[in-house]
Symmetry: D2
């Protein structure tokens, strides 16, 4: 009996335990995966005052980190040893001021190759219907 | 007598005082401007253990934050009220593993328009000759 | 009686007539809009031998042009005087070899602002289910 | 006696002969390499009326093609069998209206890896001092 072909390689719970090893994401920032599938992932962040910049909007690097963790969760769901993936490129378009208490990052795998994965993310703010940030990223996968 | 046309709109010292108002960059992370001209800026970051990810490389969002602060410093040097600039897009190419104790971000203004500024940054690690990360960003400027 | 708020600012037919004024897109390349809505557009291209590069894949700039025309059609549908929009930035991720006889570009507006529009496009090849190229672009809108 | 480590893998003349096999770039558009080194390349394009769009500026895809050929020339200079390189991602920032009779693309290699190459290009118009377009691209290299 083999594992179902379409089960993700990690669960949201296991992912959340794993990222506590990264003080920056896990402990300090507190972003958490809420769903991981073989084709994507959803993460949440509760916004704290120290994440804000001038005018009360969420700081750009915090939004980027939410997108980055969402892609990282998606990759860990999509391939074995996804924790060894390394970002090659990332492009962000910030479209609306991220003002609100909760951020959600929704990542979907656009391409899963042997040597790299391409992923797109939209970041939403609770209560706003439209994406505040669209991100596309490529990650190199370890060769062995 | 008027101010020289080519003096930056802020000095590195004034910039470093201003960013202490941003707990994330200023106090927690500790990135600092070392030079600001009307055409660019250089910032430094001392790497701490909590900035690292798997394998001892500096976490992607930390490198992004260095690039972001370098661009922010360059914009505050290039235009009045640069603190009100808002990131529209940012593209990063990570080219080498950022392993080392000190990061330097060197930003240069590619285009200064009335409504937006385009900036390129290279991030270097002390002791490595070549850029570890090339970033291009566009910032919207406040209309008044 | 006024025009419905949600009618596009141009029809696919009118767009196709308009682009014949651009010899490169309209006459030489032959890309055509098949649908334009206030939120997006779909365009088609019949691939000819001179669009191919080494190995029989469609040349990168041809794929880019399909994406560019799709965004241009979407913008002309979304705002009045969209023909005056100017590309500020464009990011492309090429994910699969575009091999096939027909390309389709599907553009959707991510953000419609007063001064700029952000748009995402996926380019498909007839017979392949997944996007061969994901593009994000920003266009500056004329101020008057 | 071995070939000098720092000779490019192709000369500008050989490159220009090779691209005549690509009707689109070579014959139709007429872009030509003027210098290729192991670290970069410079290409020229004489602008013709059919390359222009509304307002007399050079069409975006033409500027992209100049950048693409410049990167392609740089890659063919930097590695053997560079003609088999495939674009993974490309980001363009258009900064000034490209109005003029001659375009120059100057590409420099940012990173030469075993599996991919990262390259930056600036496109200049004769008579304008500053870059009209800054491009960053990644190319996958054939595995054998």
């Amino acid at each position: 009996m083999h594992q179902a072909a379409h089960a993700p390689h990690i669960t949201a719970d296991a992912f959340n335990r794993a990222i506590t090893a990264y003080p920056w994401f896990g402990s300090w920032m507190g972003v958490k995966a809420v769903e991981i599938t073989p084709r994507g992932a959803t993460v949440h962040l509760d916004v704290r005052p120290e994440f804000l910049r001038h005018g009360g909007t969420v700081s750009g690097p915090i939004v980027m980190a939410v997108a980055d963790v969402a892609m990282y969760a998606a990759i860990m769901g999509a391939v074995p040893h996804g924790e060894r993936a390394v970002t090659s490129d990332m492009t962000m378009h910030f479209m609306r001021r991220p003002q609100g208490d909760k951020l959600t990052g929704e990542a979907r795998i656009l391409r899963k190759g042997k040597r790299s994965i391409v992923c797109a993310v939209d970041v939403f703010v609770e209560g706003q219907g439209e994406s505040v940030c669209h991100v596309v990223g490529t990650y190199a996968l370890p060769s062995a």
